[in-house]
Symmetry: D2
Subunit: 357 residues, 4 copies
């Protein structure tokens, strides 16, 4: 497969990854090394940078990427990142904005941190405790109007992993008015969502064999992001109760969302809404009636599996979705957005098949 | 510790376990072997029966119980179970009722199946597809009025594991009117809840590394049981949306429950309600503010850890609870009920400390 | 990347998979759908067959492969498999041979079962209890002479997963005479190695949180296969003590092998032997000094990571290797052999990067 | 059960735990709270100390121990530990010795660190890099002569977890001369063995779904301890190749050990040796022929399950054992030694039943 940019011209794109030794960075690398543009020479992997691990080889830090084992991690500075066509940022928020704002306007900057996701400055300040900077095109191409905004965009805010799972689950129901705008979302996540940072609470001993909710009752920073996304397709604000739960698996988010059923809505209507909403989407799969999403089926893939059901007795719509938090939830979305930005095929390099079992 | 019955007389109680090679049966055995009445000779372990495994030794089936390795599993019949003071039934529903109804009125029968839990015959028929038999005293001593009914009871219906977690989480909120009677319950469970039965869907390969909802939207048989329990302390029927999720751990249920907050209720009031409700309970621990229950902390113990919080923004109360599905969720409750039935100390033989990490 | 056969001619190859609903079959499908020849239309996926699941759709059985969700599984017969250029067999041994021997001589048959692996008929009869049929070219291209035999081969016996890990670990040491021919191999495996078959012993409840050796002391059928492989590069027979251990992860085999160190051999010599032996191999990565293989690093990839060390005090060589039992251990090897058979690039469609963490 | 000391006198013993917020300390607490002497008032839990967590409550650090949730952790100093009859030390080596040597001669000091285990000062210096202090009675009562030495002992060195599993597996074979003194030990361990210390390599993300050997080829500090133990029953030094492997489970060690079979030894002889050696032991269970130890069966118990087999073809004896690294491997052994030291029943408070599944 020969790749061309949106003007039909073959090109070579040089890509840098800041935060290359973190989980998001490693997953971006995995996807780029399997990207057809890498195979054809149209995409070149340039600087790999990090903070505390600078000076180490990638082989020491990421033994799963043997091809680049000898690459040396550089310091994350605007200088090391200069001279690239695309820069992925897999950095802590705050630092990410600091670096991002130093990069030239011609560079495609794809930011996996939270800095540029929220539209409402007050929300930013409330949840992140610092001054709001900018709002960038938001990287869920499956949201109405977003794909168009992402095509050719030089700045992209990659969504949070929980907002991706919750948004793709609820968007059709909210837009079509199947539900009252009052959702209860419980999202169960694998531990890689918490990043690669030494911590007693995230030790294998503490997380294997245990389930625990955290940052509950509106305290999780992804709460306003979910509300913002759903609000885009709703004429009323959407109330969001969000409960994240940590579960003993490395990757995967299963989202369950319930909301009051609008009177008169039937299961057939609900299913039809979902099937139509996602009919043209490569990376959202509405499961057949009776099947429930499972995270294993999307491991390492860029897919979101979705199911919608109606619970007449309880008067609720239940929507469930499964994604891999590191792929569709972060790095896959980042690569999908890069594809849209530079003019590759949107789906290039992004697996649809999960690594199951 | 010397044990006496309710009249102060030392006694020897002979116990049989039907379904001894299943997970409930094995856990009852584990608890009885650690019971002070077993150590003192006041409790004796009699017949151990099963269906397909009859004729095998316990050592072959349950290598974790070396003391009884040479015991031979007998057939589950009313005859083998005759002559015991207490009979625990860890059998499939239907068969459990069939056996139970053949046991004499003087025997304490503690049934871990569903047959005698529901009060409403129509609900039984709808969810279980057979004729309803009887309703027995229901084994959650922490529910108002239940401890009294269980003392000396000769028939006990041990609750389902999900209803235990959901009921202990929601009871105080419903009774005190902190919430509207419209709850969304998501309960995440370890795989032992599905029992010890060959099945492709429950293979290690299929369950490790995966999360999946099942029997959703009111289809799970524990749904009416939760509604029944909450209804006991409510003047209105309680609507229950129930979503069970299978997670990759052997034991443990984490329940998250949200419901609309009654106007004017504060976090302090909610906390006070919970602390007062459970002030005298040995096996329910209301966690301090800011702490969330985790299943690891209750592994192998008879505890239920509970937290209550208010999400002002979303207008919801969030209650979470953690139990071990095989202990407080099944076998621990069964032994607690036996203690109440025969007059032992209610807490005898029931660990409060979890096996963590 | 445009693919050509060994004569430089573009071609379309039609592939069938027998046993498509099993783990080997599913993994072959995953790899083929990511194969560049599939993308370019040179490889077409034909019949998917199975036994007990015939009539179901792939979507019901393998939700991780959404692209082919509507494909209906056919019965495994020589007739349904006729008319294909390549037939992968992911069937139980015995049945595999029965089907294989009915397929025409022009078809490339790649058999993942054991039937055609052993050269010694007596060993076959001892370990498999039936009459030996044939010996086919054995699918470890990294073994001396094997790559050449596999190029253009119409019949391939894909190796067992344990023999792959043990052989790649020990081959250089045996060939170079670093060790005495008396090896102790302990191979720790994820549960998918046991296949997708209902079984109590393989339930999630029984396998999560547990470690257990099985088929020990020469009873495992992979023992003679390991001895055969090592014998190919040794002038003396190689004694093999083989201990497989089941561990709580879905995929991966970590092999540890010790053998008496030949007098005078140094760590530098041992390292040099390994680096030279595998210098030209795409799918074997000798780790740098001090690093140990980990299964996570090869999850879903076709890689084998290897380390060799000398324990002077104990007088032993220790070799360790990590593979994914379903990829390099089965389906990856099968696709690698297909590539060699039909003239594709040997590495086409086979990831080098693991899905970590 | 009323407890008496070795002179038949009822007593109250006050116990302190240093390192109470670590995994060893937590497990000692769990066992003491279930000890009959605690129930009867003969054993009292005094100071709980730690280093970095001093000032926190036990409830914050160890939510699995709700009974003592309000206890405040004190600093680990000789002063806080003074005035107790028994002091358990669950501290890093070095610091453990420093504290231990300040405690009075009448106090029973039970040290879970390595400081006082090795008899050979040169080995200590080689493996631990500091000056050797003392050698204390070594806490495996099942080793010939050790039970007698531990009775009434005021100083006890609790063995390492790997040495416990390997020693109990190999002791009878070495003593009876079933094998040549040249053993290859592979011990697969759950992650709690690495302690409760923030670390990237031990994060859930890094350890779930992965297997990895570490400190291989004689580098692990438990190697000389294993050799020392086996040497006690051998007239020749025993060569030990030791390979520890980290596996994705919280607790448990499965040890596999192979050694050259002495000519003429039969499987029946080997079995008879093991059965006789352990005939009187409460906490070692020789499994029936054909059964293999599994870690699940000993979870949370003080048992060691053992199997011995002969592999004629390979000319090897294979011995396997399963323990819980935190119970029989550390805290259970510590409590068993306390029982022997103060004159309680040796088995008091130590479960024989595992928490399975």
């Amino acid at each position: 497969m020969i790749m061309h940019n949106m003007y039909g011209v073959t090109m070579t794109i040089k890509v840098a990854i800041a935060g290359a030794s973190g989980y998001a960075g490693g997953e971006i690398l995995r996807l780029l090394l399997g990207h057809p543009a890498y195979a054809s020479g149209e995409l070149e992997i340039g600087a790999l940078t990090a903070a505390s691990t600078a000076g180490s080889t990638l082989g020491e830090l990421m033994p799963h990427i043997p091809q680049l084992a000898d690459r040396v991690i550089q310091d994350t500075t605007a200088e090391t990142l200069a001279g690239h066509d695309v820069v992925f940022l897999g950095l802590p928020h705050g630092f990410s904005a600091e670096i991002a704002l130093q990069l030239g306007p011609d560079v495609t900057v794809i930011d996996c941190a939270a800095d540029f996701r929220l539209q409402n400055a007050a929300n930013w300040e409330k949840f992140y405790g610092s001054e709001h900077q900018e709002t960038w095109p938001y990287g869920i191409p499956e949201m109405p109007g977003h794909r168009e905004a992402l095509r050719g965009a030089k700045r992209v805010a990659v969504p949070g992993c929980f907002p991706t799972g919750a948004t793709l689950a609820l968007l059709p129901a909210v837009q079509a008015g199947l539900i009252e705008p009052d959702v209860s979302v419980v999202s169960i996540t694998g531990v890689s969502g918490a990043g690669k940072k030494a911590s007693v609470a995230l030790l294998g001993s503490e997380t294997m064999g245990s389930l625990k909710a955290y940052n509950t009752s509106g305290k999780h920073r992804h709460t306003p992001e979910i509300a913002q996304n759903l609000g885009e397709v709703s004429d009323k604000p959407v109330k969001v109760s969000f409960t994240p739960v940590l579960a003993p698996l490395p990757r995967g988010i299963l989202t369950t969302a319930t909301a009051p059923l609008k009177e008169g809505v039937t299961a057939e209507q609900a299913r039809a809404v979902y099937e139509e909403f996602y009919a043209q989407e490569t990376f959202v799969h509405v499961l057949p009636e009776g099947a429930q999403p499972q995270t294993q089926a999307v491991l390492g893939s860029n897919m979101c599996h979705v199911q919608v059901e109606i619970d007449e007795e309880a008067g609720k719509v239940l929507v469930t979705s499964a994604i891999d938090n590191l792929t569709k939830g972060t790095a896959g979305a980042a690569v999908q957005c890069m594809n849209l930005s530079v003019g590759f095929d949107e789906a290039a390099g992004l697996p649809q098949v999960g690594v199951a079992p």
